[in-house]
Symmetry: C2
Subunit: 439 residues, 2 copies
């Protein structure tokens, strides 16, 4: 092994055997903690010569097993990678190393009077580098887009052992292929992202939050398009399908049992002026009949009360169905009626909630724990097939990693897979970067 900081002790390697997915991980051969370009160059040279896999890791909050290693692999723990979070107000951007925590990146933007939108569920624990490698999303994506929409420049280790800088500190740059975008969301299979420069947005100064029970689920599915066509784009548009509402009403906490309507939405706006009466009046006019049971919140305490039902949902389901399986899939919203019809054919109780603003669904298979592995696998593949047939896909924000590798291969046209593999072979000919993941 080349010089540098190493973790080789069995006990010390235990934390590297899991992430936030259900994928069982092996104990890696060792973990390296690089702190300099020389460390990385030596790692790549060694891995290339010996045919060893390099598995990048941030804080281990991934949901797809992307940072789990095989026994013969080396984990590259980027937690000690040097660099500071730097806000550049003149260039409306921020630069941070992969080792920074996303919460610190967001706080640095905020302290300088700006806003960095990506808000994955793990935003207060995850590493910035992980959000780059997985193209992290979150509720804000329906207005602000994904991580890739905010990255201006990427710093990455490639198979030549060099640290490359792709992109500049401006949203405008059209000089040559956009390698940075190829690396973002590629889960470390083309190279290892070491840092990035991201755009900053103005910091929202007002927020309006609405809880919107509707009499018919179908009504809800039309609302995002109707609102946007009237000039209203929410920064969060969460929803509950009739099945999850029925569960909450029958067995959930008191607050949930009183909820009217067949389905439910939670909308948040962060535009300037969104707490004015005129804004709410305009919104109510667009919502029409759907606004009959509307609850609006403009201060922090009221907003927290409305968001409580969102947080309560996961907690309640997890307590009542500890062995349930939750899948992160996407279905274009126009196809959701067909999706919910199709879910019936799975013949397993499913309840769904998530991000209606972008069709990113959390489908919970409540009795998954009672199925044998092969039957569960069959059900999941049927779920993925349903999403893909409706023009959706099998991961909205968590990525593929190990958890969905087989599904990706099964549902991607062979001609596309051949192109992906040609890219992998071109950029990583010795297959040292996160081998066995995604493809």
């Amino acid at each position: 092994m080349p010089h540098g900081q190493w973790i080789v002790d069995e006990a010390d390697l235990a934390p590297f055997m899991a992430d936030e997915s259900h994928v069982p991980g092996a104990r890696p051969r060792a973990a390296a903690r690089p702190t300099s370009p020389e460390d990385l160059r030596a790692l790549v040279a060694w891995a290339t010569a010996e045919g060893i896999g390099l598995v990048p890791r941030g804080t281990g909050t991934g949901k797809a097993g992307g940072c789990l290693a095989r026994p013969q692999d080396i984990v590259v723990d980027l937690g000690a990678w040097p660099g500071a979070i730097e806000v550049n107000p003149r260039d409306l951007c921020l630069t941070a190393p992969a080792s920074a925590l996303l919460k610190d990146v967001k706080a640095a933007a905020d302290a300088a009077g700006f806003f960095y939108p990506p808000d994955p569920n793990s935003w207060d624990q995850c590493a910035f580098g992980g959000t780059l490698a997985t193209n992290a999303g979150g509720p804000n994506a329906c207005k602000y887009g994904m991580t890739r929409h905010w990255v201006l420049a990427v710093e990455a280790l490639l198979a030549d052992g060099e640290i490359h800088h792709f992109g500049i500190a401006s949203v405008k740059a059209n000089a040559g292929p956009c390698m940075g975008q190829l690396l973002l969301g590629s889960e470390g299979i083309f190279g290892m992202i070491l840092g990035a420069t991201v755009r900053l947005a103005p910091k929202p100064i007002e927020r309006l939050t609405l809880l919107l029970p509707v009499a018919r689920f179908e009504e809800l599915l039309e609302l995002p398009g109707r609102l946007c066509a009237a000039g209203y784009l929410p920064c969060a548009f969460e929803f509950w399908d009739p099945a999850v509402l029925a569960e909450l009403r029958a067995h959930g906490p008191e607050a949930a049992r009183r909820m009217p309507g067949e389905a439910l939405a939670l909308l948040e706006f962060d535009d300037r002026g969104c707490t004015s009466e005129a804004f709410l009046d305009g919104l109510v006019a667009v919502l029409g009949d759907a606004a009959a049971e509307l609850q609006a919140a403009t201060d922090h305490r009221q907003r927290e009360a409305l968001w409580a039902i969102r947080r309560m949902t996961s907690v309640f389901l997890k307590e009542r169905y500890p062995r349930k399986v939750s899948e992160d899939v996407v279905v274009p919203r126009s196809r959701l009626p067909e999706f919910f019809e199709g879910l019936q054919r799975l013949e397993i109780p499913c309840v769904t909630y998530g991000h209606l603003g972008d069709g990113n669904l959390h489908v919970n298979l409540l009795s998954a724990g009672e199925l044998d592995a092969a039957t569960l696998e069959t059900k999941l593949m049927a779920l993925f097939r349903l999403c893909v047939e409706l023009g959706g896909t099998l991961s909205g924000e968590h990525g593929v990693g190990l958890a969905k590798r087989e599904a990706l291969i099964a549902f991607t046209p062979a001609a596309d897979l051949a192109q992906f593999r040609a890219l992998k072979a071109a950029l990583d000919p010795r297959n040292i970067f996160n081998p066995g993941k995604v493809l």
Copy 2:
């Protein structure tokens, strides 16, 4: 030549010998007008077997020679490629073929109550496909980003002769490498983009336009960051440097001669409520002393009067210096003072205006026409070097094509070029797609 529509007559091929760049084009061997996947498959098979280059072309409004062919190449005129512009309000997206005109794409979004932001200068003539292949920008990019920030899914012909579909009709999709982003802005060297699905935004219902003369140029450079930190993000932030203002004052039209200040900016806002007094008051408070000579416009007629000075600038310069050369470069705004110092060292009169909102500059070398070709080339390379040394790049929105190919190769680290070439070899091993461009 395979079956299909062909243009082979010398006279009919003449229009394919130029675009909107200064690059001289050759007469291509022929032009194909594919109308079906079979046409494209046959073209690729033939080009692969015979080693013929396929050069994609929309309406020929490119500024870098990217659609110009060599005598041995085939131009692939995508003007007859079938498909309709379809707005899907429920999915907040629009699908269009490469052959659609951008103005029709924007109009279709508008008619359905939405907004498609990309607004390159050629927006009323260019083909949608060209905006995808070149990752088109425009003034709106400072708020809304480039074309790549709006594309959800891409349809593209690759070297296997197949039409691939990468992406889905949602902003959330993390299942496998993002091939679509690699194709966007790659100017046809990896494959041929045939259409795309793009996100739509709410249609702005108000606009506030400001003309802002400032006493010191340096003041202007701080404004984008200061405004954004206070929650104000303009959808256009154009500027004039002291040199171009001096030219306009000395020799320009009457309206320009009366303009006060050392430098000038034009800002436009399109937020809901931006025409209210409260919005303008807040903005004036942030601008401080810089607002002393502010002119504000909220109705169409007033706005047109303010934008007239922007349009007049190009016309005036072109008339007074018909052989001037204008370059599209980027410099991060924090480095602009150094950039303008560096411009002096070029020892050729330069005036600069453009998009301060994202550091995308139009540098006009007024006496370029009096220089011999080698001297001009030396000056241009010095200009590009200056931009690159300050963390900028040699094209903001026009791309590389043929016009900046040598500069790209000169100013890109060899290790990066090797990666770009590996990608090209992997995706287009017989070099049939737009050979000789970009790399």
